[in-house]
Every structure is written in structure tokens, then in C-alpha cells.
Amino acid sequence: MSWFKRSKEGITTATSDKKEVPEGLWVRCSNCKTLFTSDDLAHNNYVCDRCSHHERIGSEEYFQLIFDDGNYTEIAADLTSGDPLEFTDTKKYVDRVSATQKATGLKDAVRTAKGTIDGQKLVISAMDFQFIGGSMGSVMGEKIARGIDEAIKTNAAFMIISKSGGARMMEAGYSLMQMAKVSGKLGQLSEAKLPYISYLTDPTTGGVTASFAMLGDINIAEPGALIAFAGPRVVKETIGRDLPDGFQTSEFLLEHGFLDFIVDRTEIKQKLSLAVKMFMS
């Protein structure tokens, strides 16, 4: 004898009463494959509850996470790429940019904003990896430069959240020179005795690593992020053997002395706020 028995045959719920699970409500952690509702994951700042894997997020999520009450004012929001070299690979650069803008709703791979963190003034430039791999072109250089100008003008702390594959090839020489440009601006920030905090997130490679990402008064990173000058594939080809476990992760860089500390995204606001206070009070 079974414990439960259908009292009526067939499906009795009317189609109109059926509860749909909306698409995209469930998401899997890309590391341990645990299922979460997207609300839960968002609530935990896109960090997996179980394995603490940090999913990649964009500038908006970081601004919401760090600025008081998620309030901020964006700086130079409307800047977009020119096409100085009239660059074409398999696609025209201008088309690539406009298609990406349409798909992402973003103008370029970085956004700069000012706001407060526990009442202290802070300017942040945060990258969006979904915009051509977070690549650095003229717009990124200029938007970061404007952020630094703003920090100097308002006596605020400055932070860059790096998440980039490196320089944008379609702007060739121009993108290379952004490394010099931002470094020059950071020098001015330093003269003004204002702190620059570099937050490295997955992934930070190439020209971004070889310039401002490594130049923080403090360099901090999210756990498990890929941080490299040459990417792992290139290094592997160069040396002709497999790379050691954990090579080029945040933990590896901390061990080799290039980071001050690693901080979970869920604790970044608290740690950052304290750091700003240490510098500015």
C-alpha cells in the first residue's frame, strides 16, 4: 500500500494558474555548478555562497556595491571612441563599437563616477569586460584622466577597478600611449598627496597590468583573479611546458609581493572605506 494516492486522475491545474519559472531565474556558479536563484546571487554580490567564486560583474554592480546607497554621479559618460586609424580586421572597428554599444548599453569599456563611501569622497573608474574585453583605448585613457582631475579638484581618494584584456588593438599606437597618459596623470595625483587604490579583478592582463593597475599606493585584488602581463597561453608557448597550479592568480601575485592584500568582494566596501580613512584622516 502506498502512502500517497492520487485522488483525481490527470493534471488538474488549469493552464492559466500554472506558475512559470521565468527564464534566467536560476543560475549556476561557473566554478562549482551550484544552483542559485539570480536574486540570491545578486544579493551576495555575485559571489558563490558555497565555493566563494567571484562571478565577473560590471561597473554598475561595483558602483552599487561601493558608493553609499548606490548613489553616484558619472563623469564624462558620453565619451565614445573615434576611429583614428580607420581600422578594419574581420569587421570595421566603428561597426564593432556600435554593435557592442547596442548589445551592452555601455559607451566604452570604462565608466568613471564620483560619490561617497561612508561619507568620504571617492572617485572610481571601473571597467566593463563585456565591452570588447575591457580593452583600453583612447576613451579609457581620457575617462580615467578626467577621474583623476576630479579627485584632485575635490580632494577625493581615487580608485581604478581593473578588468581588462589589455590595450585595444584597433587603436594601435594610440592605445599604447594611454599607458603613458594615465601614468602621467597618476603622477599628478601623487603630487596632490591623494591616495590611489588599484583593485584588480578577473582578468587584468597586458597593457593594463603593465601600467596603472600595478601602480596603486595600495594594490588589492579579488580572490582567484587572473592577473598577468603576458597571458597564460603565451607564457606556456614560450616555455614549452605546463604552467604550475595557481600561476598568475591573485594569490600567486600576493605571494610574490605585488599585491598588498586580497579582499572578498563582499568585504570590499568595509576594507576600502577603512583604507581611505587611514589615508585621508
Binding site: T80, F87, G173, Y174
Partner: protein, 317 residues
């Protein structure tokens, strides 16, 4: 024994003909000066023809020509041997791909630094093909700081296929080393002159490439990536290097046109690799001009101008 690139082949037979004619004249005591003059004339015209219509990819090939003079050859010629090479980054080791030291140019002492390629297979390995490790950049920075302390102008020679992408290089912070150099070079209180004498590949070049004067020799390239790597990433194949070389606008002419370098130094009509002596003289004269121009400026203003120059680079809407 010189090496000829495929587009230089027409010059090869002419040069051989001239050599043979000379030899014949000497051995038979017959006056061949008329024939020789004629041949020289033809060679000159042919040289002009070959070198006037170079494609960007051919310029890239020239920049890597095995007969091209490398950093130490320039240093030796400029200083007439009055050069003290200094070694080591005082931390890890001495990087053979980056050389530097104090030198005397016509009685004026300067700091000379540059990437160094090898002149034969053994030396190429010894010099790591001109690809510095972090120690190289840190050695360069140490020497620059030394120059600043003693108020000496700095001249860097850029010739690298890139910073070395090795495992130890990553462990020891290749990115940080280059970043630090860029940052510090921007603020050096002495005149800084950077000359691209061959290949200027990306961060590896920029790591000693921030200066009041950044100039390129005519047949060199400078960009964010080599045409080969660009081809492999954007076209997912190694076969588009010529197209990539066009697209990147990496020649001296294009880089000057776009305001990314300050000047192009013309090479001898047959290239620096065929006539290094003339090249050295031109470079020496330029360096002396730059130094006397830059030394007139107030150091703080010079730094300000340097930062401002790089801040102007970029195109946006």
C-alpha cells in the same frame, strides 16, 4: 656577407657587379672608373626606387634586418669608445637584453640605455633576442635615477620584439617593472630622449620609451602589438601579417602623422643597415640638437610639458 631581403634582391646583383668590376680593374690595371661610375649611378637609382615604395610590412622587415646596427653599435659610434657600461639591477641579476651606462658624446657626459639584440646565433641567445626580463627594466630605471641624481641627460635606444613573456618574468613582475618605469620616466627631472632604432613592440618598448623627444628612425615600427601577433589574435591566423601591418599604422611616417612620436629621423638612402656610419652621424647630430634644446628648459616645465604631451594622445568623440 650581407643579407638581402627579397625586395632588396635587385640591389644585390648590382652591388656584386660593382665589386667584380672593381676587382677586375685592380687585377688587370685597366681603368674601370667610367664603368664603375655608371654602375654606381644605376645602383643609386635602383636603391631610390626600391626604398621609396616600401610597404609597412617591408618596413617591419627592414627594422629586423640582421645587418642593422644595434644599441651598442650606436653607443660605440656616438661616444667613440668613451663609454662605461654599468650592470645589474641590484636585486636579481644583470639582464643582457638591456644595456646601459655613462658615455661621453663630444665632451658631454650622458646616460645611454637600450635593448640589445645579438649579432649571431650565440649572441642572440645571450641577449635573449632583445627581450628584457623585469631585471632589465629595473636596471634601466636604476641608471635613469643615477643620471637624474647627477643631472645628466638620458638617451634610450628602443629595439625590442617585446618584453620577455616567460614564467620567471611573470613571477618577478614584468608588468610592475614596466609600469614603474613609465611612471618614473614621466617625472625625471633631466632631459629624456628616446630613439626607436629597430622594433618598438608595445609595453616592452614603452618601458624605456617615455621622453621629451620620442623619435623614430625611418625604417622602424612602433605599436601596441607586432603585426604577426595582431594577425593571430584578430584574424585567428598567422597569414594576415601584411594586412595587420597596414592596419596598425605602425610605420614612422604614420606614427608621426598621428602625433604619437615627435620626429622621424631619415635613414641613408639605402637604409641604416647598408650605411651604418652615415646613420650614426645623423643620429649623433640629432641627439646634440635635442640636448641643447631641452637643456634650455626649466626642469619642472619640461616634466609638465612631457606629461601634457602624452595626455594629448588619443581620439574620442
Amino acid at each position: 656577407m650581407s643579407t638581402y631581403l627579397d625586395f632588396e634582391e635587385p640591389l644585390k646583383s648590382l652591388e656584386e657587379q660593382i665589386a667584380q668590376t672593381k676587382e677586375l680593374g685592380e687585377s688587370t690595371n685597366v681603368d674601370m672608373s667610367e664603368q664603375l661610375a655608371e654602375l654606381e649611378q644605376v645602383l643609386q637609382e635602383k636603391t631610390k626606387e626600391v626604398f621609396s615604395g616600401l610597404t609597412p610590412w617591408q618596413r617591419v622587415q627592414l627594422s629586423r634586418h640582421p645587418d642593422r646596427p644595434y644599441t651598442l653599435a650606436y653607443i660605440d659610434a656616438l661616444t667613440n669608445g668613451q663609454f662605461i657600461e654599468l650592470h645589474g639591477d641590484r636585486s636579481v641579476k644583470d639582464d643582457k637584453a638591456m644595456v646601459g651606462g655613462f658615455g661621453m658624446i663630444d665632451g658631454k657626459s650622458v646616460m645611454l640605455i637600450g635593448q640589445q639584440k645579438g649579432i649571431n646565433t650565440k649572441m642572440r641567445q645571450y641577449r635573449n633576442f632583445g627581450m628584457p626580463n623585469p631585471e632589465g627594466y629595473r636596471k634601466a630605471l636604476r641608471l635613469m635615477k643615477l643620471a637624474e641624481k647627477f643631472n645628466k641627460p638620458i638617451i634610450t635606444f628602443i629595439d625590442t620584439p617585446g618584453a620577455f613573456p616567460g614564467l620567471e618574468a611573470e613571477e618577478r613582475g614584468q608588468g610592475e617593472a614596466i609600469a614603474r618605469n613609465i611612471y618614473e620616466m614621466m617625472r625625471l627631472k633631466v632631459p629624456v630622449i628616446c630613439i626607436i632604432i629597430g622594433e618598438g613592440a608595445s609595453g616592452g618598448a614603452l618601458g624605456i620609451g617615455v621622453g621629451d623627444k620620442v623619435v623614430m628612425l625611418e625604417n622602424t615600427w612602433y605599436s601596441v602589438i607586432s603585426p604577426e601577433s595582431c594577425s593571430s589574435i584578430l584574424w585567428r591566423s598567422w597569414n594576415f601579417k601584411e594586412t595587420a601591418a597596414d592596419a596598425l599604422k605602425l610605420t614612422s611616417t604614420d606614427m608621426r602623422k598621428n602625433g604619437l612620436v615627435d620626429e622621424v629621423i631619415p635613414e641613408p638612402s639605402n637604409g641604416a643597415h647598408r650605411n651604418p656610419e652615415e646613420m650614426f652621424q645623423v643620429v649623433k647630430a640629432k641627439i646634440k640638437d635635442y640636448i641643447s634644446e631641452l637643456e634650455k628648459q626649466d626642469p619642472d616645465k619640461r616634466v609638465e610639458d612631457r606629461i601634457e604631451k602624452f595626455c594629448q594622445m588619443g581620439v574620442w568623440k
